[in-house]
Symmetry: C2
Subunit: 128 residues, 2 copies
DNA sequence: TGGGGTTTTGCGAATGTTTCGCAAATCCTG
DNA sequence: CAGGATTTGCGAAACATTCGCAAAACCCCA
């Protein structure tokens, strides 16, 4: 219960993730593998993504429609994501103050900020 | 195609939302209404929540499990949420720089910050 | 106040995503 | 290469959410 076999399906999925660094749903991945002859069952796609996510090399995010999407992302340094509303490309963004963000995004990455969502978690007064 | 009837199901749902200001799923709401004798069909729960969300009096968020949850929240002023990992209670937080947040949360609300997620959206260099 | 047109509800069925069980296929190691 | 451990594929659940449609509820005003 420790092993980690290097199988064809896993290889195909990881290769695809490496080649397209934006958030993709399990179905999207499944379909694209199908197209490029590397047929992998949907269940295996899910299992592999979950495995990579647990291992920490894949970031998961549920999109506005409630579908879970996955993208390669090594969390070496804590950072956030700027996602292009149009093409889905993702910029990694360091974790600094908001103003810095806005201008860094604009000047350093050419990313025109037009929205953001933040959520904090922790323990409230009562629960402490 | 404009009307907005004041019906028993809608009343029940809105009353419940007013009485418990934390993020609840459609199923949770449905079950709790059931318990307190105010039986409302699940489809109606969804329809009402969507209606309130569109009207702008309810904030929707998909939780880590991919389930959509809803909470009363007038977005008069743009703000963010600090959600207690334990009890689910929500603090409204103004939108300022991150350091301010941390200490404001701690000192002003007694909220012990231990995690955050941010996501930016906009248009990337290439797409502009 | 009641009738009738408009809107909403409830129900069950349809969708779409994600998970599961299990036998068959694949991998590794020695 | 054989044997045991692991992974795959498949189809069947399990859920969440949406839809169509006939019946019920609501509003308005004659
Ligand atoms: Mn990243
Ligand atoms: Mn709020
Ligand atoms: Zn783009
Ligand atoms: Zn709490």
């Amino acid at each position: 219960m420790r092993a980690d076999y290097a199988t064809r399906p896993r290889g195909a999925i990881e290769r695809l993730l490496e080649s397209d660094r934006r958030y993709l749903s399990a179905t999207q991945i499944h379909t694209r593998l199908d197209v490029e002859q590397a047929r992998v069952s949907l269940a295996t796609v899910y299992r592999t993504l979950e495995r990579l996510h647990t291992k920490g090399t894949v970031s998961a995010r549920v999109d506005e429609r409630g579908e879970t999407t996955y993208m390669l992302c090594e969390p070496e340094h804590h950072h956030h994501h700027a996602i292009c509303r149009i093409c889905g490309r993702v910029e990694d963004v360091p974790c600094r103050a908001l103003d810095e963000f806005a201008s860094a995004l604009q000047q350093r990455y050419g990313f025109e900020l037009d929205g953001h969502a933040m959520e904090f978690s922790g323990v409230c007064n009562t629960c402490r």
